[in-house]
């Protein structure tokens, strides 16, 4: 199959890792996958193409309005690829009535100038085949497709046993980790959860070592958020200062796993909207590639369905400080869960499997 991915590429955000993995998995499975557009040196590993006629399907990967190409390219895509051969992966739940969860929403007219109806009508104008990376779409005309996946070959450090992993993690065989907690992700609609997380670990702060947040918006509330009156990108610098939290700019996707591997713990938060919609992201899976113990601060339903039943042990629920303390006291038990979860992810959520699922959807 010849597959054309239509997406805006960003080394720091969106689906760059997932797209890279699709190109790789597609090739392994005998398919030809390219990204729509002219070749660019900063994405040199990705094949690009403007030869629309050479492809069987176009898959639009949509986060923001500018994920659609500009005219005249957009007009060519619409003219030259029949509607039934266009598919949308709606990565942010735009193709829903407006949903408001805390400060979060799937439609931000203040930011992108588009009403909710425009998102629904606009996406439907491109395709009838709209996929969302969720377990349970809200709309009957959306098909669930998790899109993102797990790459077992990207695991930073493989262990033959939980004991070996625990030993390395504790610093006995692999040097001391420079961080206690590392979180990678922007502060877009995550502050409420981050605040809760930080306040919860405050009682054991001194046991944790460095806490590092990487991504935009952690050092201060952006000016544009204040100007537009947009909440959900808040920050409490007093709290960060009190807990000696380090903030750094984001890291590129190819350094994400090594960044998280610096830490004993890496929490996985999804923004409130995604929790409500039961969406998955690249980080849902990628964190398990890092040499760290992921903390699953996610809805139970999502944890079980993605990570398998064992992974519930990695969910701190209400007693985060106790959980971290317990992990530090019994790392082998938890590493056993991490390793089992990695196997579960490799079996059920590999990019090869995802790609095959996509092919099945396209061919149906």
């Amino acid at each position: 199959m010849n597959l054309l991915l239509v997406a805006k590429l960003d080394r720091y955000a969106r689906a760059i890792n997932t797209i890279t993995q699709y190109v790789r998995a597609g090739k392994d499975l005998g398919h030809n996958v390219s990204v729509f557009g002219e070749w660019r040196s900063e994405f040199s590993w990705l094949p690009h193409s403007l030869e629309i006629g050479a492809f069987d399907f176009a898959v639009f990967v949509i986060y923001e309005t500018d994920d659609f190409p500009e005219l005249p390219h957009l007009a060519r895509l619409l003219d030259d690829i029949p509607r039934e051969r266009r598919v949308i992966v709606d990565c942010c739940g735009r193709y829903n009535d407006t949903v408001q969860v805390e400060h979060d929403s799937n439609h931000f007219q203040k930011l992108d100038g588009h009403h909710g109806w425009e998102w629904i009508e606009g996406l439907r104008a491109v395709s009838d085949n709209i996929l969302q990376p969720t377990l349970r779409p809200l709309r009957g005309d959306v098909r669930p497709f998790r899109f993102h996946g797990y790459d077992p070959t990207a695991v930073a450090r493989s262990y033959s046993s939980a004991g070996e992993a625990a030993s390395a993690w504790s610093g006995a065989t692999n040097g001391v980790k420079p961080c206690g907690v590392a979180y990678l992700g922007s502060n877009w609609q995550r502050w409420t959860q981050m605040r809760r997380f930080l306040e919860a670990i405050e009682p054991i702060r001194d046991k944790l070592g460095t806490i590092r947040l990487a991504g935009w918006g952690w050092d201060q509330r952006p000016d544009w958020a204040s100007e537009l009156g947009v909440s959900g990108v808040d920050v409490d610098t007093t709290l960060l200062g009190r807990l000696r939290v380090e903030t750094t700019p984001g890291v590129t996707f190819d350094n994400a796993i090594s960044f998280m591997s610096q830490a004993h713990f890496s929490p996985i938060f999804h923004r409130p909207l995604f929790n409500y919609l039961c969406f998955v992201t690249n980080r849902t899976f990628e964190t398990f590639c890092a040499d760290t113990i992921p903390l699953l601060i996610l809805p139970d339903q999502l944890i079980e369905s993605i990570y398998g039943p064992e992974a519930r042990l990695l969910a701190p629920h209400e007693d985060l400080a106790w959980k971290l303390d317990d992990i530090m006291r019994h790392p082998e038990m938890y590493w056993d869960v991490v390793l089992k979860t990695r196997r579960h992810l490799a079996q059920h959520h590999s990019y090869r499997k995802r790609f095959q699922e996509l092919v099945t959807i396209l061919e149906s």
Binding site: D66, L71, P72, L74, A75, H114
Partner: protein, 356 residues
């Protein structure tokens, strides 16, 4: 005919005043004219619609920017409206070769930008209209497009108290050279004989954020000290519904036009809007062009040479100039009303080959 305009709707800039006038004139002539989008209270006199299938033609009004034609917005229009029923009004003369006037104002920075812009329009339609009587590209059809709405004229009952001798209502977008080299020296010569001067619009005191990154710093020249010395009051832009009232606060209103527009002889809303205000308009245009648009009396209202002397003459002899203004208004009502404009647009669209 049913016509749907599609444009970047801005409350205090662009063609929104024209759209409101097209809607009103269309109603009188039995045409249904609307603007794409959902109703908003701030655009109270504009009909909105998103029902693309019920319109015969979609008319994109494109100015400088293209970003509002987002990839999300366009597929719906492109898939619902056949290409031959789409038309572009190129309001800013962008659909031309690269033009740079006096090494200052330009439509495109370079050929690459021009190609991108033209390709954008070409992907929408084969028919490009420009608000000029003198299009330069063979493919472009000239059409005045903007017009005069006699009903929007402020009558005697609405006479506005004059707070300024001179009002200049426009954004500081490629106007600085004309203002700094023509208007300000004239003001300097006669300032002691003038009462208040007010500039209404954006960016007269500072350039917008991002101007430098977009290589547009020369479009936003400012000199706050000179404004201070000349006691020029700067007021923020007003919504389109308040433009005529704001102009009417001045005994005299001066219309400037960016050099590119003067060069291309592009019409704008302001050409006509200023004659709806309760003021004496003076237009910084070539007298021949002023006469062509406004009729013989328009020549007398052109600010060409001896600007300072002309301003003083107008302020000292308002009755004479009010009579000239009335003559122009009669001329505009006859030749440039929005009812005339609707007829012209309908004709141009029918020549497009869609409806007969």
């Amino acid at each position: 005919m049913k016509i749907l305009f599609v444009m970047d709707r801005r409350l205090n800039a662009g063609s929104i005043q024209a759209i409101a006038s097209y809607v009103r004139a269309g109603d009188k002539l039995g045409h249904t004219i609307a603007l794409y989008g959902t109703p908003e209270p701030t655009f109270s006199n504009v009909r909105f619609s998103t029902d693309l299938g019920t319109f015969d033609y979609v008319v994109f009004i494109i100015e400088f920017g293209l970003s509002w034609m987002s990839g999300l917005r366009m597929p719906r229009i492109l898939t619902a409206v056949p290409r031959e029923h789409r038309v572009v009004v190129d309001a800013d003369g962008m659909y031309n070769q690269v033009i740079c006037v006096d090494g200052y104002d330009r439509n495109h920075r370079n050929e690459r930008e021009r190609s991108r812009w033209v390709a954008h329009c070409d992907s929408l339609t084969d028919k490009i209209l420009q608000p000029t009587l003198h299009p330069r590209e063979p493919k472009v059809v000239g059409l005045p497009f903007y017009g005069y709405d006699p009903e929007s004229q402020l009558g005697i009952v609405h006479r506005t108290r004059k707070r300024f001798d001179i009002v200049h209502l426009a954004h500081n977008w490629w106007r600085w050279r004309q203002v700094s080299e023509c208007l300000l020296p004239a003001f300097e010569r006669i300032r002691s004989q003038l009462d208040g001067i007010c500039f209404v619009g954006s960016w007269w005191d500072t350039a917008p954020a991002g101007a430098q990154e977009q290589h547009l710093e020369t479009a936003f020249g400012t000199d706050r000290e000179r404004f201070r010395q000349l006691r020029i009051q700067v007021k923020p832009p007003v919504p389109y519904t308040e433009v005529i009232r704001a102009m009417s606060e001045g005994r005299v209103n001066i219309m400037t036009q960016r050099p590119l527009f003067r060069y291309l002889k592009l019409f704008t809303s302001k050409y006509f809007e200023i004659f709806s205000a309760d003021t004496i308009p003076l237009v910084l245009l070539d007298p021949n062009h002023a006469e062509l648009v406004y009729g013989p009396a328009g020549r007398e209202l052109a600010l060409h040479e001896e600007i300072g002397a002309k301003l003083l003459d107008v302020l000292e002899h308002p009755t004479i100039y009010h009579e000239l203004v009335q003559e122009v208004r009669h001329h505009l009502a006859e030749h440039h009303s929005y009812q005339v404009r609707v007829h012209e647009l309908v004709t141009a669209l029918r020549q497009n080959g869609g409806l007969n």
